[in-house]
Amino acid sequence: MLEIEDLTCTYGSVVAASQVCLSVKAGEILALVGSNGAGKTSTIMATMGHVRITGGSIMLDGVDVTRLGPRHRARLGMAVVPEGRRLFADMTVDENLTVGGYTRTKPAARQARERAYALFPRLAERRRQIAGSMSGGEQQMLAIGRALMVSPKVLLIDELSLGLMPKIIDLCMETIVRLKREGIAIVLVEQNTDRALEVADAVVVLASGRVVKAGTPEMIRADDTFFQTYIGLDGGQAVRNQVEANVEQRSS
């Protein structure tokens, strides 16, 4: 479905992503993990066409989209849920979804909106509510719903769990598993590696803009040293777990 070969993008002299290769099939979740500044968001934004690439190629469902703009990529079935949700805070839920369906015809957009409401009944109840007045979880649902307005074949999600309560993260993760079962290929960028690995079918680990490991979640989990070296958060958690275990041992 989505094939990225040697993707390279730079901001001036800073290389944000270098020769990144990844592929995700229909009905599959690929977790793109790594510590801060690893190049995850740049890879997502370059894939969607918002950041100009200096090398490599992007194929979507057999079509070379490397030279196409974001609008054409959206029309071909690519959508993004941006980091921090980036909702239109002063618009209603309904209006946010309408803008999300920019590339669709009116009947297609109407159908897609009803599908988003069916997926998130809470949004249907709040369709006239101003997006900025909703809770973080509801806003994330709206961000996903808005991306679904183009009926994507490939959904790029940047930091799904950012700033959300564990219960809401569960709900969002359940939703993306449901979308995967519907046949959507999902690229999930996550700082919360544990949660990403729970739902992912494949994992790509980035560090300093380069792919340092790729494989199944089990393969990534199995390598403790790798975890501690490349994935800061989980490495930190592993250390904290060890400290807590030592404290417990001493007190007993």
């Binding site: 974001p70 980036r86 618009m91």
Partner: protein
């Protein structure tokens, strides 16, 4: 209608169209412009030159608007590269450039401006009616635009340009469209003014005029068509209403503007939206 009121109608209409034009750029699409007087002037000078060259009135009005729209499009191209305060300064510079050009050019009559512009041929009352019709058409266009796809795209750019881009909204196209429509409306106001005054001088299109148009938009309620219309009417009439105060007229005018901004930052429209439901609520309570 007496002669004084008839003479006020085109002035109110010119300001209303100017403010509604800027509202499309700044209110709907979120692009600040401090050079609206330049497009007003371009429309006026273009219409005046065409009228002096013998073109009929019905042709000079749309052509004046179109000329200003094309120049607006060029300034819109700048908005693709700069934003917010940088865009404000750039548009302000466009205003000064325009003034500098017309003041020094013999084609535009230099400091003296252009005189001897032929009449519209409609008479004062007929002209006032035409202006009312054009204001009504501008209001209708504005309301239609806000509720249409164009309005949604403008609103998404005004709220978060980055998010609009992420959703594949072609931001540059819409910014240019906003600048074209807003500037063309300012040009139309300029053409109307040129047939109303029948002479134009560079001072009519000074930076102060750009600021006054912005004040009409902000005090009326930026983004609201009815609010901006109300702001334009109020700010055109207030100096006339305060005429009784003689030398203190400007002081009272400034005080009134300060009061609106202090007690209703959302402008006159915001104030009315709060007052009307409250009054309705009181009526309901009284009936109960």
């Amino acid at each position: 209608m007496n002669g004084y009121l008839v003479s006020l109608v085109p002035l109110i209409g010119v300001n209303a169209i100017l403010a509604l034009g800027l509202n499309i750029i700044a209110g709907f699409c979120g692009q600040i412009s401090l050079g609206q007087a330049a497009f007003y002037g371009i429309g006026a000078y273009a219409a005046a030159l065409m009228a002096l060259a013998g073109l009929p009135f019905w042709l000079t009005l749309p052509l004046g608007a179109l000329t200003a729209g094309v120049f607006g499009l060029v300034v819109g191209l700048v908005s693709l590269r700069v934003r917010e305060d940088f865009l404000a300064i750039t548009t302000m510079a466009v205003g000064f450039l325009f003034l500098g050009l017309v003041r020094k050019s013999a084609l535009f009559g230099g400091e003296v401006g252009l005189t001897g512009i032929p009449p519209s041929g409609l008479g004062p009352q007929g002209y006032a009616l035409l202006v009312v019709g054009l204001v009504a058409a501008t209001v209708a266009l504005s309301i239609y635009m806000k509720a249409s796809w164009l309005g949604f795209a403008f609103a998404s750019i005004a709220e978060d340009e980055g998010a609009a881009r992420a959703l594949a909204v072609p931001v540059p196209h819409y910014k240019l469209a906003a600048f074209f429509i807003g500037s063309a409306l300012s040009g139309l106001a300029g053409a109307i003014y040129c047939y109303y005054a029948r002479f134009i001088t560079p001072d009519t299109f000074s930076f102060l005029v750009s600021v006054s148009i912005l004040a009409m938009v902000v005090i009326g309620g930026i983004g609201s068509t009815w609010g901006v219309l109300l702001g334009a009417v109020a700010l055109t009439l207030l100096p006339e209403i305060f005429r009784f105060a003689g030398e203190y007229r400007q002081f009272l005018f400034g005080l009134a503007l300060l009061m609106v901004m202090r007690f209703s930052p959302a402008g006159l429209f915001g104030m009315l939206s709060r007052l009307v439901p409250a009054r309705l609520g009181n009526l309901r309570k009284a009936r109960a």
